[in-house]
């Protein structure tokens, strides 16, 4: 995904307003960009607070800065600068966080991007994009460039499996992507873990559970219509994220459901619950430890779908009883109702 981002950025830098600002991350991977756009790349050193505020100042003078670093260093360390200088001032700056979720799986919690959405999704003016694979990363990068205003783009590193097929349609900020249609269960997810979700959906299919998969690549604004439609049409929603559920997609979906009077939908949130993953290994190793592999997702999905089916049966029975009570009331003789 990182290479896809940089390749797209190199193309977009035909726009001379675009300037890429680094915080000393990206040796080698920016070589081609540097060769082609030498005047549009600056490494401002390991000083992220200054970097963010400088980008705001440059945006005020007509530049479109793409500020690139590892997620915790880009948005957590200088958080107040992101809030005041980028969001409050509504500057046309693109923050590109590398290492979403456990992409830096060997480097420990200091390098994990697992709370960034929580702290950023509450900020006014900020668009948050979380693409799922290299193709979508290129699309999201282009969308970020076209969008006038602050954008946070969170991406994985290295080789990430393809999630989109070739005919994936347009990438639109604020519009979820339907990856798979289904009627028993809806799984809403974002980022690279969608590859696990798609495998889980196939496993569920084999169990006779038809699963709708929505790629919520736009976390802010969230496609609330897609969330509400999933609640009304299916009624059973599982959110899956390689991120904290507190403030992450799960919370955003739960808030949307409650605000849209869809609180009766069955909802389960899969993700992190206030814990650091202090293990090392591959991304899959960490997902395994945290119960976020395809088999875990399929298990949770199946359980949720069965619960929903059971609830539906119970409510059908309860609904029938209600109707009977009304019928009895209706047939009471006139004049027997108390005022």
């Amino acid at each position: 995904m990182r290479n896809a981002f940089i390749a797209e950025l190199t193309e977009l830098a035909e726009d001379e307003r675009l300037i890429t600002l680094l915080a000393d991350n990206g040796i080698i991977v920016y070589d081609e960009y540097a060769r082609r756009r030498p005047k549009q790349l600056l490494n401002l050193g390991i000083a992220e607070s200054n970097l963010i505020a400088m980008a705001a100042g440059m945006a005020g003078s007509g530049f479109i800065p793409f500020v690139y670093s590892i997620i915790p260093f880009l948005v957590m360390r200088p958080y107040e600068f992101v809030r005041d200088d980028i969001c409050y001032q509504n500057r046309n700056v693109k923050l590109v966080g590398i290492g979403a979720g456990y992409a830096y799986s060997t480097l420990g919690p200091t390098h994990h991007g697992t709370e960034d959405v929580s702290i950023l999704s509450c900020l006014p003016n900020l668009t948050i994009l979380s693409p799922a694979d290299p193709l979508e990363t290129r699309q999201a990068t282009r969308a970020a460039h076209e969008h006038e205003g602050p954008v946070y783009l969170r991406i994985g590193t290295g080789r990430n499996p393809d999630v989109l097929d070739g005919d994936s349609g347009a990438f639109t900020i604020g519009r979820a992507r339907l990856l798979r249609e289904g009627s028993d269960l809806a799984i809403l997810s974002h980022g690279t873990i969608l590859s696990e979700v798609l495998v889980a959906a196939k496993q569920l299919e084999r169990q006779g559970i038809s699963t709708r998969v929505l790629n919520m690549h736009s976390l802010s604004p969230l496609d609330s219509a897609a969330v509400v439609a999933a609640a009304k049409e299916i009624g059973t929603i599982l959110t899956v994220e390689e991120h904290s559920i507190f403030g992450g997609l799960g919370s955003l979906v739960a808030t949307t459901l409650m605000e849209s009077q869809c609180g009766d939908a069955n909802l389960k949130l899969m993700g992190l619950k206030r814990r650091f993953c202090e293990s090392y290994g591959s991304v899959e190793d960490l997902r395994k430890e945290l119960g976020l592999l395809a088999t875990d997702i399929a298990r949770a999905g199946a359980e949720l779908a069965r619960e929903r089916a059971a609830t539906k049966q119970t409510s059908r029975a309860a609904g029938a009883a209600d109707v009977r009570q009304i019928d009895q009331a209706d047939i009471q003789p006139a004049g027997t109702h108390k005022a």
Binding site: A47, S49, A53, G60, S61
Partner: protein
């Protein structure tokens, strides 16, 4: 009040006095303000706007305009007063300072106030944004210059030194930082809390051209700014030794006046010292 200053221009001296009158009237009207942090920068602002800053009503979005960023945003009453005096908005608007419906809050908002380049208030931000503005002008080949006004207490923020390193590395000769070195911060004397001295040496060791002046001496301010922009290839910092609360004797150098508003007796005394006959007529 300006007796200690070298008289550069009687109009500038008169303007500085009028700004002090306006700031007092604003603070009283609002029922509170950062009075003394505004008073320590009034002479600096007066000279900058009158003689150096290429920014005028109508040129607020001109890409070639000079930029001034008040990094110590809490001194904004002084900035509002000079912007009003120079015609960016009517002087009568100052009456709304910190009131409901006014564009003039306790910290400056770039989206509401013509002539304000950055919304500041949190220390250590505006200076770094100003560096971005100076870098943009350099990369674009524009003649625009950038002024940033910092507090000395603000220099305790780590981001100031991140920015100081970057600006020197980027050889931003079009950038002038002015440190309002009044020696006081919110809770007392800088030297007793987290000393910055030797301040000139610190900036110098970060690669900046440095000058130290009396920040109330109009002629010295004028000469230093002229010299600063003749320096090429590196940024300049002006360490302006100032008196917090300059202009009202009992406020001068007293930390408590960072927040306080004068009582009735103190107000009469302040008016007398600032030559105010009728405080209500100052903002008309």
């Amino acid at each position: 009040m300006t007796n200690s200053s070298t008289c550069l221009d009687p109009d500038i001296a008169a303007s500085a006095l009028r700004l002090r009158q306006m700031v007092l009237a604003m603070a009283v009207q609002a029922g509170g303000a950062h009075l003394t942090p505004a008073y320590s920068i009034i002479d600096l602002l007066t000279v900058i706007y009158a003689r150096h800053l290429n920014l005028h009503p109508g040129s607020e979005t001109d890409p070639d305009r000079d930029r001034l960023v008040l990094s110590k945003g809490h001194g904004c009453a002084a900035l509002y007063a000079i912007l009003a005096e120079r015609g960016f908005f009517p002087v009568r608007d100052l009456k709304g300072f910190c009131s409901a419906g006014s564009k003039l809050g306790g910290h400056p908002d770039m989206h509401k106030i013509p002539g304000v380049e950055a919304s500041t208030g949190s220390l250590g931000h505006g200076f770094c944004s100003a560096i971005g503005m100076a870098l943009a002008a350099k990369l674009q080949g524009r003649s625009a210059r950038t002024f940033a006004i910092l507090g000395d207490g603000e220099c305790q923020e780590g981001s100031i030194w991140e920015g100081a390193m970057a600006a020197a590395q980027l050889e931003l000769g079009n950038l002038l930082a002015i440190v309002d070195a009044n020696g006081l911060q919110g809770m007392g004397r800088v030297e007793n809390i987290n000393t910055l001295e030797p301040l000139c040496d610190k900036w110098s060791s970060f690669g900046w051209d440095t000058m130290e002046i009396d920040g109330h001496d109009h002629a010295a301010i004028d000469a230093a700014i002229t010299r600063a922009f003749n320096v090429t290839g590196r940024p300049t910092v002006l360490i302006a030794r100032t008196i917090k609360g300059k202009g009202v004797s009992y406020m001068e150098g007293e930390a408590i006046w960072h927040y306080r508003l004068p009582n009735e007796t103190e107000l009469e005394q302040a008016c007398a010292q600032l030559g105010i006959d009728d405080l209500n007529s100052v903002l008309t």
